[in-house]
Amino acid sequence: MPELGLKRGNVIKIEGFASLHVKEGKILIIGGLHEKWAKVVVPRAKSIPIEAESDAVVECTLGPNGKMERLPGRTIPREWDTLVEEIIAKKPRIVLVLGEVDTGKSFFSTYIANMLTRKNLRVAIVDGDTGQSDVGPPTTLGVVMVDKPVVFLRDIPPRAIYFIGSMSPAGHILEFVVGIKRMVEHGLENADIVVVNTAGWTSGGPGRAFRLYEMELLEPDMIVALQRGGELEHILKSVDQSKVKRILVSKHVRSRSRSDRTFLRELVLAQYFEGAGRLILDLRKVLLERCYFRTGEPVDPKSLGDPSIIHAEKMPEGLFIVVSGELSESKAQELKAKFRNLHTISTWDAKNVIVGLADSNNELVGLGIIDEIDYVREKLAVITPVKDVSRIVAVQFGSMKITPDGKEVGTVKPGTF
C-alpha cells in the first residue's frame, strides 16, 4: 500500500475510485478533522481535497480512474471561513444554499456543517437534489444530522426521506415544495442550524416559481448564493438583501458530464435495490397516493360489454379503465360519450414504475419498483429492500420507470395512473 507523507499545510486532491487510511497525524477533509485510524473511500466521479492539519502519513490506494494530485495551496476560499464565523455569531436557523448545477453546493454545505459541528453546533443538511441525491436514493429528498466529521453525506443514514418520484423538479413542483418543507421541519426539530442544499434549477418560468415560492415557504434566515457571475441575481433581486451572502464558485469545482450523472444515479439506485425482495401488497388494505387509480366509484367491468376491460371505476374526470389486450375504437368512443371522458391504461403500463412506500405516519419507509398489478385479485407486487410488509400503509406513485439494477428505462406520462 503506497504511503504518502504530508507536511502541515500540504494539500492534495484525490479523485475516486480511491481509499485513504490516516496512519499518523491529522488531516482536514471538507472542513472535517480526521485523525489517526480514520478511513475514507472516494467513489468514482467524486473528488475531495485533503489538507494536512499536522504532519501526517496517509495510506492511499487508487482504484479504477483514481487520481492523486498535489495542489499548491488550500482549495477552500477564505470567504467561506468568514461566512462560517458569521453563522456562528448570528446562528441562523435556516441557511438556504442556492446555485446552478455543478457549483459545489453539496461540497459547500458539507464544509459548513463540518465547521459548525467543530463548534459544537447541531447541524442538519436537507438535500433538495433528487437527481444527484446525496441523502437517500435518487427520486427522493432527505435530511441528515451531522454530528461528526463527514466526507460524503451519503455515508450518514438519513433522518427522513420524502418521495418525489422523479429525477427532476420539472412537473413535480408541488411534491418538491411539500417535501422540502417537511424535511426542513425534521431538521429544525433536531438541529440548531438547518442547511438546505437546493436543486440547481434556477431559471425559466418553472425554475423561478419553484425557487421563489420555496423561499417564501421556508423563510430562510440566510441565503447563500454560489455564483460564477451574476447568474442568480434575477432571483436574488426579489429577496431581502440583508439575508443574501454572495459567494464565488470555487475554481476547483468540476462539471460532471451527463453520462457521469447517469452513472452515479444508476450506481446509487442499484446499491439501494441490492438484495431487494418481492413483496405482495393487498390493494384493499394499502392506500394508493398520487394517482387516479382506486379513487373512483367501482364499476363492474363486465357491465361495460368488452372482455378486454378488467377493471373500471367512475371518477369526476370520467371513466378509468384497465385493459388487457386491445379495446376496440368503437367501444372506446361509446364509453367516452357515456362517461364524458375515458382514461385508459394497459395491464403492463405499471411495470417498473418507481413507488414510495410510506408508513402510518406518512413517512417514507423505502422505495419500490412495481413488478405487477393484479387488477382482478387486487394485489400489487413490488420489488423493494423493505422487508416488513406490515410497515407499508401507503403506496405513492412516481413518474420514472427503473429496473432493480438501477437502469432508468422510461418515464410515465403525468396522470397515467
Binding site: I173, P206, R208, T262, V409, V412
Partner: protein, 140 residues
C-alpha cells in the same frame, strides 16, 4: 401575473411556430409530427426538453453542406416541394431518391433538381432525442 409553472406553454409556442414556418412544406411537417409523437411517448414528463428538441428536427441548410444520405425537402424556384434522400450532388444538379412531391404531380424514384432552381433546402434530423439526450432515449 405569475410564472409559467410548467414548460407546456413553451412547447405549445414552439409547435405553433413550426406549423407557421413550415406550412408550405408537408414533408417537413410530417417529420416534425413523427418526432413530436416519439418525444412525447418517451419523455412526457419533460415538455421543456421536447420544446428544445423539436426545432432541431428541420433546419434550413446550404446545398453545398448537404451530404449523400441526408433526408431533405427541397423547395424550388418554380414552387415545387420535393422530399427524399440525397443520392448525389454533382454537375450542377442535386439528385434525390425516394422522392415525393407534394401538391403537384406525385412522383417516386429519382428526381434531379438543378441547383440553380433551388430556393431552399431543409435538412431533417430523426431520432433527435437520441442525439440530444441519449440517456433519456429509453428502449421501448
Amino acid at each position: 401575473m405569475t410564472f409559467e409553472e410548467s414548460e407546456l406553454q413553451k412547447l405549445v409556442d414552439e409547435i405553433i411556430g413550426l406549423l407557421e414556418r413550415y406550412r408550405d412544406d408537408p414533408g417537413a411537417l410530417d417529420v416534425i409530427l413523427s418526432e413530436l409523437k416519439s418525444l412525447y411517448r418517451k419523455v412526457p414528463i419533460y415538455p421543456g426538453i421536447i420544446a428544445n428538441c423539436l426545432p432541431m428536427v428541420v433546419k434550413s441548410t446550404k446545398p453545398e453542406q448537404l451530404k449523400v444520405g441526408d433526408e431533405v425537402s427541397i423547395l424550388t424556384k418554380d414552387n415545387r416541394i420535393l422530399t427524399g434522400k440525397v443520392s448525389s450532388i454533382a454537375q450542377g444538379d442535386i439528385k434525390i431518391v425516394d422522392c415525393h412531391e407534394y401538391g403537384g404531380q406525385k412522383s417516386s424514384g429519382e428526381c434531379n433538381i438543378p441547383l440553380s432552381n433551388l430556393k431552399e433546402a431543409r435538412l431533417f434530423t430523426r431520432d433527435i432525442l437520441h442525439k440530444e439526450w441519449p440517456d433519456l432515449d429509453f428502449e421501448e
